[in-house]
Amino acid sequence: MKFTIQVNEGPYQHQSADSAYFFAKAALEKGHEIYRIFFYHDGVNNGTRLTTPPQDDRNVVARWSELALEHGLDMVLCVAAAQRRGIVDDGEAQRNGKDATNIAPGFRISGLGQLIEGGVQSDRLVVFGD
């Protein structure tokens, strides 16, 4: 089955990010396809490489990056949500005159159309959030 996953909550504050990760991992292990993982609302905070959790805790961001690189996942941060919350890649830094970037490996920033397209192209859209 082909899935698009939507993550609506940030890491650590909310279990959604963990649940979405475990769902994605399990789906891939079972041989399913993940068309896209789309991060919205505070979910975009899953994509900052500046996250530094305590050493005895899981690293939610790094975990996503590793999964993406291992499976060639398309992980998209909503541009409007990312701008509000200060998640920046090279293109955004240039466009908005910011002096730094913080996007984590394996993520890209794009528009909400990517979420809609995920709904159109996938067999299931699975939303993780409140």
């Binding site: 609506n8 609302h41 509000r84 909400l112 159309g113 159109v120 939303v127």
Partner: protein
């Protein structure tokens, strides 16, 4: 892949200003309108407060985005479901909500009501008939 039309339902369950969900959900609905899917929108639970008319956000320093709902008809979003029980539980009636309309091209642009007041049970059936549920 052939162009396919799916039944998209956007479910709004949260009050408009305490969190950003309502506003960012509306942004998804507006962007999604460009994709020519069969779109419906639901307001239930505290989400019914999103449609209450006469909103004034001057005291909280936030943008009042409620006028945008009146534009949904222009985006060809004509099926707006409001759950009856959610209104009743909050002491609201249809009269407390904005009057949302759309213009029917096939009937000389006759103005028609967008809001469909449905019971919890009816809404369950509507949701069961959808292809994609966006839950906010």
């Amino acid at each position: 892949m052939a162009e396919q039309i799916k039944k998209f339902m956007y479910i709004n369950r949260k009050a408009p200003y305490g969190t950003i969900y309502a506003w960012e959900a509306l942004e998804v609905v507006l962007i999604g309108a460009a994709f020519e899917q069969d779109v419906s929108v639901t307001f239930m639970d505290d989400g019914v407060y999103q449609l209450v008319k006469g909103q004034d956000t001057s005291g909280i320093g936030m943008k009042n985005f409620s006028p945008t709902y009146a534009a949904l008809g222009d985006f060809e979003i004509t099926k707006i479901y409001v759950e009856k029980e959610s209104l009743e539980e909050r002491g609201l009636t249809l009269d407390d909500l904005q009057h949302l309309v759309w213009e029917d091209e096939d009937e000389d642009w006759a103005e028609k009501d967008s809001i469909r007041l449905v019971s919890r049970a009816e809404l369950g059936e509507v949701l069961a008939g959808q292809d994609v549920l966006f839950n906010f």
